[in-house]
Amino acid sequence: MAILKAEKVTKQFGGLVAVHNLDFEIEEHAIASIIGPNGAGKTTFFNCITGFEKANNGQILFGGTPIQALRPDQISHLGISRTYQNIRLFGEMTALENILVGQHQNMHASWYASVAGTPGVRREEREALEEAQRLLQFVDLGGQGDLLARNLPYGGQRRLEIARALGSKPSLLLLDEPTAGMNPRETESMMHFIRRLRDELRITILLIEHQMRVVMGISEKVTVLDYGEKIAEGTTKEIQNNERVIEAYLGRGSTRTATARPAASVPSPSGG
């Protein structure tokens, strides 16, 4: 069953049509990718799903509920969480606190109960802290919980952002270029990690990615956007042989072309 379904979504900025009449679906527990040249409207589509931008037209259903009119915090409550293309952590807060903010919506302490320090609040805080520590371990940041987020190395920040998103217990996780700026080794472990998210935590994952190695290596479905429109959709194999896709990439002489290699060069997925 499709967990997220977008129907004829359009988003315009003035005269610029960033997303045009886009139909999109993702099955539960799937890993799907959206690719496309720079400015194809991928991040705008993410923003529409998460409520950061209001779509001008169309409908977005999450688990059957229309969400296009909701605020970002309401959408987050429904179980969609995301990361950002340019990492947006709470820099002056510690890594642990970043994750705790992620858990905000699943906690219930009122301010007066917190001030009174009721047993219920203390238990909730303790559990949240344990959960946060677990998540830190899960993203290989164990023992670095008291570092300020801005002091973490780049890869650590990327992973912390994912841990923060996981803190809200999402059923759908949107990753905006999770491997941007990573070296091949880091990329490899990020791919492995994304697979673990799906296999161990049973989370549906939708990612925007530029590195074809990653896209072809882990996605079960690929959607290609160009100028805000869907030009192709299918399995990795179908996409690699699609002429419009090749045209969209090669026709423009995109610098990313070099990475768009056949799947043969992708190492076989190791069991997660």
């Binding site: 909701l70 309401q74 409550h77 429904l78």
Partner: protein
């Protein structure tokens, strides 16, 4: 289902408050105007005097507002100390004018004397603003937005109380300039010569500034930097120099405005700049911040409302001694604009996310 009860209540309360506020202000304006015009408490000549005085005061706000608008346009920062730079100009002008008045030069050559006073005031204000930019603002350019604002707040106090130290807490009385006393007729309306001078001088200054911004090389650089600092730098524009120039030009205007203020109100004190500064900022917001013409319009509108408002709106709804609440009119206008039309009268839509 996803909106909890408290959430709905807060949403509703925000909505109710905003509308209630709108309706209240509208009621005061409409009822007040009708009542006070009906009562005939003021003659039409008095109303005209209010308006003319408002325009004169508004033109000083406008001159000051230009400085706020230009700096905000470039740095997205409220230069809180701008009002105090204005006060410094008023002081500088005072000492020159007073000196000339003692030697009798002011009597003999009022035009030359005042011109020298204005130029000296501009020089002092510009110096202070440039030093300020170098010390208090430049090191903070990359800092989060609140940081330069607080620094500017500090700078404002620093300048005010330095001047209190230099010259004491007393009020200094500007010398009277004989040729500026009395009034003359324009289209049957009696206008004080002083007020006419202030308006004319302000309009000339604004015209010069407009030309600088739109026509000259440095003006183009300013507009480029305000659009995008990084791109401007790539295009070979010296961003630091452009910013300094912006501060300097704004401060020069403020310094001249300070002298006009002194001539019009005959007094200056170390706190003279604070309230006009805030009102000028309100004027800049009113006209649409970052917009040079908007600052002029905003200044005039604010000046007139402030001058007419207490008698027309507040007096009309039965508030006694409405002049005590004169300043409140400027603040309410400011809040109204920020709430309902943050882009101002002429402004383009401000992207608040441009933090």
């Amino acid at each position: 289902m996803h909106t909890s009860a408290t959430e709905r209540i807060t949403d509703w309360a925000v909505w109710a408050f905003l509308w209630g506020f709108r309706i209240l202000v509208l009621l005061i304006v409409v009822v007040g105007t009708i009542q006070s015009l009906r009562s005939g408490q003021y003659t039409s000549d008095q109303w005209i005097d209010f308006v003319v005085f408002g325009i004169a005061r508004g033109s000083i706000y406008a001159v000051l507002a230009l400085g706020y608008t230009m700096v905000y346009g470039i740095l997205r920062m409220i230069n809180f100390a701008h009002g105090d730079v204005f006060m410094a100009g008023a002081f500088a002008g005072y000492f020159v004018a007073n000196g000339f008045s003692r030697t009798g030069f002011l009597e003999r050559q009022p035009v030359v004397a005042l011109l020298i006073a204005v130029l000296f005031a501009m020089l002092v204000s510009t110096t202070i603003a440039v030093v300020l930019e170098r010390i208090a603002y430049r090191p903070l350019r990359a800092a989060p937005r609140l940081v330069p604002l607080i620094s500017a707040l500090g700078a404002s106090f620093f300048i005010e109380y330095s001047f209190r130290g230099f010259f004491g807490p007393g009020v200094y009385a500007y010398p009277a300039v004989a040729p500026l006393a009395g009034e003359f007729n324009i289209l049957g309306i009696g206008v004080l010569k002083m007020q006419a001078l202030v308006v004319v001088a302000a309009v000339i200054m604004m015209a010069i500034l407009y030309t600088i911004v739109m026509r000259t090389k440095i003006g183009k650089a300013m507009r480029a930097v305000s659009e995008n600092k990084d791109v401007a730098r790539l295009m070979g524009i010296d961003v630091d120099r452009t910013i300094v120039a912006t501060f300097a030009i704004g401060a020069a205007m403020a310094g001249a405005g300070g002298v006009l203020f002194g001539l019009m109100f005959h007094q200056v004190n170390f706190l003279s700049g604070f309230v006009p500064g805030i009102k000028a900022f309100a004027a800049a917001v009113l006209g649409g911040i970052g917009n040079v013409v908007g600052a002029m319009v905003g200044g005039m509108v604010l000046g007139v409302f402030e001058s007419v408002g207490p008698a027309l709106f507040l007096g009309g709804v039965g508030i006694i001694r409405p002049y005590q609440l004169q300043d409140a009119i400027a603040y309410i206008m400011l809040v109204l604009v920020l709430l309902f039309r943050p882009s101002g009268i002429l402004g383009e839509r401000l992207s608040t996310k441009k933090a």
